[in-house]
């Protein structure tokens, strides 16, 4: 299933995506819509609840980034980008603290899509149905990536997880403002291209460093890519081909850069040291 095919079906994009899902799973379109609506509600609820909150994460490598960003008056980011960044960081930290999240596409990248949705709702007065339709388009983008490549960091590196999240969020924004499937595909392609090659290297195997901050950055890549698409900028390489390229790059990544916690940032002296310190703390806690 290529995104191109979904686009050329001749019916509104969200409808066509749900129709295809129904054909595959047998779940009626109305029920699917309601499920998507529930997921969107949980995302927005959690964004509200966790906004700028400090978290006690499992490893304790992160936990106050959302809070720092929330209490900082942005010097360069727009109000929209700032708010989306706060949500992305806060939800990623909530995930690391065993909070409730919606995997999108995974737990590690769970802050990106809610980040843009929350900002649309709060700052652009987004109406429910339009937001839901755009969210379904984002789902369609993620779904195509999953079908033709992978969305798992362990298989394709962080480009597969965070790159997919950014592609989804940029398509969501673009569809929201333009209702154009082509433009949404351009935005998704530009966002994914910008994350191409990103490796998965969580320190100690914990979904904290660099994952939390990558949520905060990916959401801004999504916003910039969408802004470009709104300006009429097109991706020279079409979305479906970018997905194929991402897949090939993912396959050529060595295992040490695919969620093993052995390569990349995880192999730096500082990473080794904080992991060692943590292990010592855990051991002494167990003994008590």
């Amino acid at each position: 299933m290529k995104f191109k095919e979904i686009l050329s079906a001749g019916v509104p994009l969200p409808e066509e995506i749900l129709r295809r899902e129904m054909a595959e799973s047998g779940v009626p379109v109305e029920l699917l819509r309601r499920e998507m609506q529930k997921l969107m509600e949980v995302m927005l609820e959690e964004a509200e609840k966790q906004y700028g909150k400090r978290q006690k994460t499992l490893a304790g490598f992160t936990g106050d980034n959302g809070s720092k960003m929330a209490s900082h008056d942005a010097v360069m980011l727009s109000e929209f980008s700032h708010m989306a960044t706060v949500v992305a960081l806060s939800l990623a930290e909530s995930n690391a603290a065993m909070g409730r999240v919606v995997a999108c596409p995974t737990g590690g990248a769970c802050g990106v899509v809610p980040g843009v949705m929350y900002a649309l709702k709060k700052l652009k007065g987004a109406q429910y149905d339009e937001l839901l339709n755009s969210f379904i388009v984002a789902g369609g983008i993620g779904w195509c990536i999953e079908k033709n490549a992978t969305i798992a960091g362990a298989e394709g590196g962080c480009q597969a997880e965070m790159g997919t999240a950014a592609a989804m969020a940029s398509a969501l924004l673009t569809y929201y403002f333009t209702e154009s499937g082509e433009k949404a595909a351009n935005a998704a392609a530009i966002a994914l291209k910008s994350m191409l090659g990103l490796v998965c290297d969580p320190v100690g195997g914990y979904v904290e460093v660099p994952c939390v901050k990558r949520n905060g950055i990916a959401v801004n890549i999504a916003i910039s890519a969408a802004e470009m698409a709104l300006a009429g900028i097109e991706s020279v390489i079409p979305f479906d081909e970018v997905v194929e390229a991402m897949h090939r790059v993912g396959k050529s990544l060595p295992e040490s850069l695919r969620e093993t916690g052995l390569g990349g940032l995880a192999a730096t002296p500082t990473a080794r040291k904080i992991v060692k310190d943590l292990k010592l703390r855990q051991h002494s806690a167990e003994k008590q």
Partner: protein
Amino acid sequence: MSLLDVVGPVMVGPSSSHTLGALRIARFVYKFVGGMPDRVEFVLHGSFADTGFGHGTDKALLAGIMGMHADDERIRDALRIANEKRLDYSFSVEDLGDVHPNTILVRANKNGKMTEIRGSSVGGGEIEINRINDCECSLSWEFHTLVLVIKDVPGAMGQILGDVRVNISNLYLKRIDALRKIAVGIVETDEEISEDCLREIENSRFVEEMYYIGRDADEI
């Protein structure tokens, strides 16, 4: 994977295989034994054993065995809640042999009866229950699951299946004790089996034990 696996599920962090999958395995056991057991032992294998404690696998397992759903916000406090409920639990690490890297063995004791279930978290929160007591199987719990200990006599399974009265997706049958003439049958169905049907099956003269583990409603 379906659209709702790409977006969703609602879960507690941080990792779908280390928390969500672990919770679902324990929750399957909870439903299988008919509630929170009196005593439970979790044997962790492979990656669960290496990184499980840091990823909250212990909390997820306890939450599941106490019957919590995957999106329950009390999961992070599961250790404390288990102590409050006076659940007798223990964790150990063991090499379970040639099994999936994220595998766990749960030994649960409820009302003096011991149940042993082995499951693997195979990614994205999906699970595979691969052994129930001595019976090897491969259950995804994407269906409603009926586990039966039946008399191993001609026609037994045929008659029981007649009572199920919904579409059967998968069926396993295995003799477990030739001497006592006992077999285990596992039936997976798309639709829920009605209480009336279940009662009829349970009362069948061929059925010695019956366990019905309905799929969680929130998991499409």
